[in-house]
C-alpha cells in the first residue's frame, strides 16, 4: 500500500473498525504516513469508542494511548476557509464527522480512510486527485508489513466483524481477500 500523501485522515467508520480490531496501535503504526483524526470525529465518537472498550473489558483505551504516543494526531480546523468548507460539506452530507474529515483532507491535500459509500463518492467528486483508502486496505497492509500470522489476521478481521459489526460492501475490491481469510 503506497500512500502518496504525508498524512491520512481516518473517518469515524475506520476509527471504529481499527478500535474494534483490538490492534489499533499496531495497525496505525504500520501506516506509512502520519495518521490523523479530526477533533469533530473524536468528540462525536468518544462515547461509542468508550462502549467498545467497556464491552471488551479493556482497562486501557487504545485510542487515547495512540494519541499519547503521537501515533494518532488530532486536528481541528486551521483556517476560516477550512471552516467554511466544513459547513458547506455539512449541508451536502448532513454529517459533521464525514464533513470535517473531507474538508481537512481537501484543504491540506491529505489522503482519507473511509468505508462510507456516500463519503467516498462525495470525496471522489470534490477531490479526485486525493487517495481514498479503506479499512481492509490498511489492515491488509499491516498484515503484510508486519508478517502477521494468518490466525492473528483472522482474529483481527473477526473482531472487526463481530465487535465493530463491519462487513465489506458487495463491490469492495478486497471482498474476495476478506472472504478467503474469514472462511
Amino acid at each position: 500500500m503506497e500512500i502518496k500523501h504525508s498524512h491520512i485522515v481516518l473517518d469515524a467508520c475506520c476509527v471504529l473498525n481499527f478500535r474494534a480490531s483490538g490492534h489499533l496501535i499496531e495497525i496505525i503504526q504500520s501506516v506509512p504516513a502520519q495518521v490523523v483524526v479530526t477533533e469533530v470525529v473524536r468528540e462525536r465518537e468518544l462515547l461509542t469508542l468508550q462502549r467498545l472498550a467497556d464491552e471488551s473489558n479493556e482497562d486501557t483505551n487504545q485510542f487515547e494511548a495512540a494519541m499519547e504516543k503521537g501515533l494518532l494526531a488530532v486536528t481541528g480546523f486551521n483556517s476560516e476557509s477550512e471552516e467554511e468548507t466544513f459547513v458547506n460539506y455539512v449541508f451536502e452530507l448532513g454529517d459533521d464527522g464525514e464533513s470535517a474529515t473531507c474538508a481537512i483532507a481537501v484543504h491540506r491535500a491529505w489522503a482519507i480512510a473511509t468505508d462510507d459509500k456516500k463519503a467516498i463518492s462525495f470525496f471522489q467528486r470534490e477531490a479526485p486527485n486525493l487517495q481514498i483508502l479503506s479499512t481492509l486496505e490498511v489492515v491488509k497492509h499491516w498484515s503484510e508489513a508486519e508478517n502477521v500470522s494468518s490466525a492473528t489476521l483472522r482474529s483481527v478481521l473477526t473482531a472487526i466483524r463481530t465487535r465493530g459489526r463491519y462487513i465489506p460492501q458487495r463491490h469492495h475490491s478486497l471482498l474476495g481477500w476478506w472472504e478467503g481469510i474469514m472462511r
Partner: protein
Amino acid sequence: MAANILDNIDLRKLGELLQQARKKSGMTQADAAKVIDAARTTIVAIEKGDRRLKPNELIKLARAYGRAVSDFVRSSPVTEPFEVQFRAAYQRNEQEEARITPIIERFEELCRNYLELEKIMDAPIPRNYPQEYDVTNMPIEAAAESIAIAERQRLGLGDGPIPMLRDILEQSVGIRVFYLNMPAKYAEIYSYDEQLGGCMAINLGHYEERRRWSMAHGYLHFLAHRRKPVVDFEGQYKRIPESERLAEAFPKYFLMPTSGLLSRFNDMYRTHGKFTPTNLFTLAHYYGVSIEALVYRLEDMELLPSGTWDRLRDRGLKVRKVQQELGLDEIEHRADTLPIHYQHLAIEALEQGLITEGRFANFLGVDRLEARRIAEVLREHSSGMLEESAYLDLRQA
C-alpha cells in the same frame, strides 16, 4: 461546491433553530454572546435572522449548545413547529409541560426525519385518507359506531379482529405511528400537518392492548377532528369535551364490531352452555383488547349483566396471572420506536450511498455500533436480495 452556504441559507429559519437550541441548552443570550466574543445584541440579531453568521461562529455556537452543525444547516423539510400546534392542545401546568415537552420535541424530530427520508428516497408514504367525517349534531355512540363500520368497510377489514393495527394504520392508511417512552399517565399524542399528514406517538410503556386502544383513539381524532392536535392523558379534563367523548367511544366499535363480537359470543355460549372467565380471556386475546374493555363492551351489548367487571375486580382477578395460566401469549405486535417503512427507507438510503453511516445512526437515534447492528437485521429481512436486484421493478418484463 457552491460558495459559503451561510450566504444562501434562510437566515430566519437558522436563527429560529439556534434560538431553540440555545434555550434547550439553558444558555442565555449573554452566555451565547461570550462564546463568539460578541455583544448580546449580535445574538439577538442572529436569532432574528437579521445578521449573517460566519462559519466559525456557527461551529462555536453548535458546540456550546451541545449540537451538531448538521442540526442547523441540513436541508430538512419545513413543517409547522409542533410547539405552535400544541400550544392550546391540552390543559397543562408547568410541571406537566416539563414532562411532556421533550417527548413532543422528539416526536416532531422523528416525523421530520421520516419526511426527509421520503424525500431522499423519493418514496412518499402512500396516503389513503378518507374525507373527514362530519359528526355535527350526531349522538356520540351512534357516530362512533357508524364511523367504525365505515372505516372497516373502507379498509376491507370485515367484522373480525384487527391484528397488527399499527401496520394497518401505517401501510393501509398512511399514518406515521411512533412508539415512544412517556410517563404512564400519557397514552398518545396526535398531530396533523399538510406535509406530514397524520402522525401519532403511542406510549411504548403500556401493554399492547392499551397501545392498540390508544391508536384507535388517535385514529378517531384523525378521522373526525383531523387538524386538532391532541395530547391524551389521564385526568386532563374536568368536563370531557364532545370530541374527546367520541374518541373514547370509537375504539370499542372499531376493535370489537357489534356483529362479529355477537356472533363469536354466541358461538362460545352455544358450545359450552355458559360464558366462562376462560371464554372471556380467550375472546379478549382474540380481539387484542384488555379484559376490562371487553367486559364493558359485553355489558353495553347486554350480553353480560352490568357490574360484571366490578365483581370480577372485587374478587381480586389477576389478569396477567390468569393469561399465563391459560397459556395466552402476548398478542402479536411490533414495539419498535420507529415505523417499519421508516426503517426500510433509512437502510435503503444507506445501501444506495445516499446517506452516510453517521446520518443513518442519527435517523435511528442510536450510536454507530447499534446502527450497524440494526442495519444487519434490516438487511437480513431482505435476505437473498442482491444489492442491484433489491430495486428492480418486478412488474417489468
